[in-house]
């Protein structure tokens, strides 16, 4: 099944507050095992079965504006 959406998270900017993880209806966000340079376990997308529709709930809640949300749509392209 095709990807409908995904998010990029600026892992260095992230402070690991977890508000995005808490807000994600698809539960496809989690804390990374890694520390970033600030010493935080940053948030990362783990979406093996492409659940993320790009609803942007995570973006709405992120206090540090770390998240960029993408939506992927199929469109007829003129050739």
């Amino acid at each position: 099944m095709a990807k409908k959406g995904y998010v990029e998270i600026d892992s260095q900017r992230c402070k690991g507050c977890g508000l995005c993880i808490n807000a994600c209806p698809q539960h496809v966000l989690r804390f990374s095992e890694q520390f970033n340079d600030k010493g935080y376990h940053y948030a990362e997308l783990y979406d093996p079965d492409d659940k993320c529709p790009g609803c942007a709930f995570c973006y709405y809640m992120c206090p540090d504006v770390c998240i960029t949300v993408h939506r992927v749509t199929e469109e007829r392209v003129k050739v």
Binding site: A2, C17, Y60, P63, I67, T68, E75, V77
Partner: protein, 253 residues
């Protein structure tokens, strides 16, 4: 057929991109983003002046890609008045905490509102003095422990959590006043449209507009960001009911 990848949400243009100085999970950041989104959508970035307060958001003027300054503690409404009187066709907004606006700055906000000063104020009520280490604010809840109410705020000695939105809405100069919170994606969107409304009221020249945002201070509340939001919803939102207190834009906007 081809897959098209669209970015639907990202860092707003009106933010400078500088990393916020706030603690993890602090709502200041969410509100910053909402203001920037609104300014982008209204296309007013080029003519907007920002007045930051003294408080954790003292650095806010750095975080926006706007002309801006920092007012003395509590005096942002006076500074904004000076700017607006000098340049009436610019958009001027202040960003203030509850210690800044409700305590030391009480006279300035009351008179800015009463004059119907055509500015917008974003008021971050987190029931505490964040910047200075969690002292009691006039908005601190009864029983709430802070570094200057170590036994919990009691009405007899310290009075009551002050409801600025309710108080200011008794003044004839207030055009739009609403209280919101940003604890869920849903009410984040509500908060955004409130902020947009406030700026539109200024653009229309209807008078003073203020949005009070109930916000968390995980650090000084001594809770995790998630716990803080729960505490806010269960306690603060009861003491400070959400809603629109004045709306003179009816019919106009």
């Amino acid at each position: 057929m081809a897959n098209v990848d669209k970015i639907v949400a990202q860092m707003p243009k009106s933010l400078s991109g500088k990393e916020f100085s706030y603690c993890p999970g602090c709502h200041h950041g969410i509100v910053h983003r909402l203001i920037a989104e609104v300014i982008d959508e209204l296309g007013i970035a080029g003519k907007t002046l920002m007045v930051a307060p003294v408080g954790c958001s003292v650095f806010a003027y750095e975080f926006f890609d706007l002309d801006g300054t920092v007012a003395a503690h509590g005096r942002a409404p006076a500074v904004a008045t000076g700017m607006k009187r000098a340049l009436p066709d610019r958009i001027v907004f202040t960003y203030q905490g509850d210690g800044d606006l409700a305590s030391i700055g009480a006279a300035e906000i009351v008179h800015a509102a009463n004059r119907g000063e055509n500015i917008t104020t974003i008021f971050i009520n987190n029931a505490v003095y964040g910047m200075t280490g969690g002292q009691m604010a006039p908005t601190t809840l009864i029983g709430q422990k802070t570094t200057t109410s170590p036994y919990g705020r009691n009405a007899k000695d310290n009075g009551y959590p002050i409801k600025m939105s309710e108080m200011l809405s008794t003044l004839d100069g207030s055009a739009y006043i609403e209280r919101v919170m940003v604890t869920t994606p849903q009410n984040v969107l509500k908060a955004k449209s409130a902020i947009k409304k406030a700026f539109e009221v200024q653009i229309k020249g209807l008078g003073f507009s203020m949005i009070e945002v109930l916000s968390t201070c995980p650090t000084n509340w001594g809770m995790t960001p998630i716990e803080s939001m729960k505490w806010l919803e269960e306690n603060m939102a009861k003491a400070f009911p959400l809603g629109v207190f004045v709306d003179k834009s009816k019919g106009v906007i």
